[in-house]
Amino acid sequence: MIADEASLAHLMRASQGGDKAAYRVLLSEVQLWLERYFRRRVAPAQLDDLVQEVLMAVHTKRATWDPDRPFLPWLAAIARYRWVDHLRKVYRHAEDELGDWDAAEDSDEEAVMARMSLERLFVHLPDKQSEVIELVKIEGLTIAEASERTGQSESLVKVNIHRGLKKLSALIEKAE
């Protein structure tokens, strides 16, 4: 069970004040939340690195959360930012295949989660862009393999990845 918005906000408020025990609990909860948030959108072998990156970003940028505003939309914005950055950098190795990897749907924060999910970003992309980003950046196919799978030329695959990532980075704060 992942803590709810109110508990996380309470822990973050205490953390900004320097409460180390509250911070340890907060980071553990955030870690769980992120693992669930990134599922299916990151290769499992890279998930830990990405979660670690976001935890460090949360640490260095913790002053940028305004205690008068909700915590999860702030965390989601940072998670999305690091995820898009990650997609830019990472080519997955063939052995890191995505599996069925569902975390338990165990929270009553589902509606909030869905609104901020990574899927919300993909729906804003044309199919030809989201398809090649998924194939190359998430599933780890080569440009040539993605070209063969989609029927797009190799140069078009590259152009669509580039344009898609550019668009994703412009959509980070967009909720729907």
Binding site: L27, L55, T60, K61, D66, R115, M116
Partner: protein, 219 residues
């Protein structure tokens, strides 16, 4: 990165390290950012007064309605864009910057009106031949640097996740506030002059901001 073989979870060592490193922080508050931009805008107006001298005709009632409309639009666009940038420093899914976008579009009415009303009548040469036009354009752009510096400083302190938008609106805010401030020193209040030469700094600064600001605020 180490994994716990039983749980598959990341080792707690990172969390322990981050917790050990924890120090109290003062949250980045929007109201402090607003105060910073307000100070930058006031400093810009003071600079204009010291360097060029504000137009005394404003208080004497010699300024036309267009003077107040054009400079009012620039001032409001500057405020809306600066507010959008300040909000981008404290990110969240659901942040919307529509106000700044619409204000920017609204300012486009001035040059559009100038070109349509003056251009069709063959007076476009009057706009381009304006002897004071380039001076106002350069001064408005230059005076925008004060606001630009304040906003970049704020963004670097924050965690902007929409870098292209942050850069563009930093430029728009800087150009609009710079042109607004210099506009208080400019006694030429014709549509051709205000609608073109006092709006161009906003367009140029938006372009420069889009290109130059993201590398400065990336994190």
């Amino acid at each position: 990165m180490t994994m716990n073989p039983e749980t598959g979870r990341i080792s707690n060592s990172l969390i322990d390290d981050l917790a050990a490193d924890l120090a109290p922080v003062r949250p980045v508050r929007l109201v402090h950012g607003i105060a910073l931009v307000a100070l930058a805008a006031i400093a810009t107006v003071v600079l204009v007064e010291l360097i060029d001298g504000l137009w005394r005709g404003i208080l004497a009632g010699r300024a036309s309605a267009l003077f107040f409309i054009a400079n009012g639009m620039l001032g409001l666009l500057g405020a809306a864009s600066a507010l959008a940038v300040l909000r981008m420093a404290t990110p969240r899914v659901g942040n919307s910057h529509e106000g700044a976008r619409w204000s920017f579009a609204m300012l486009g009415l001035l040059p559009a009106t100038a070109v349509v009303t003056l251009g069709i009548g063959g007076s476009i040469a009057e706009i381009l031949g304006d002897p004071y036009g380039f001076e106002c354009f350069a001064a408005g752009t230059g005076f925008g640097l004060v606001t630009a510096a304040a906003l970049v400083l704020w963004l670097r302190r924050g965690a902007p996740v929409s870098l292209a938008a942050a850069g563009t609106f930093t430029g728009v805010a800087a150009g609009a506030i710079g042109s607004f401030a210099y506009g208080l020193a400019c006694p030429i209040d014709t549509l051709g002059h205000l609608g073109v030469w006092h709006v161009l700094p906003v367009a140029l600064a938006a372009l420069v901001g889009r290109l130059a600001v993201p590398p400065l605020v990336r994190w």
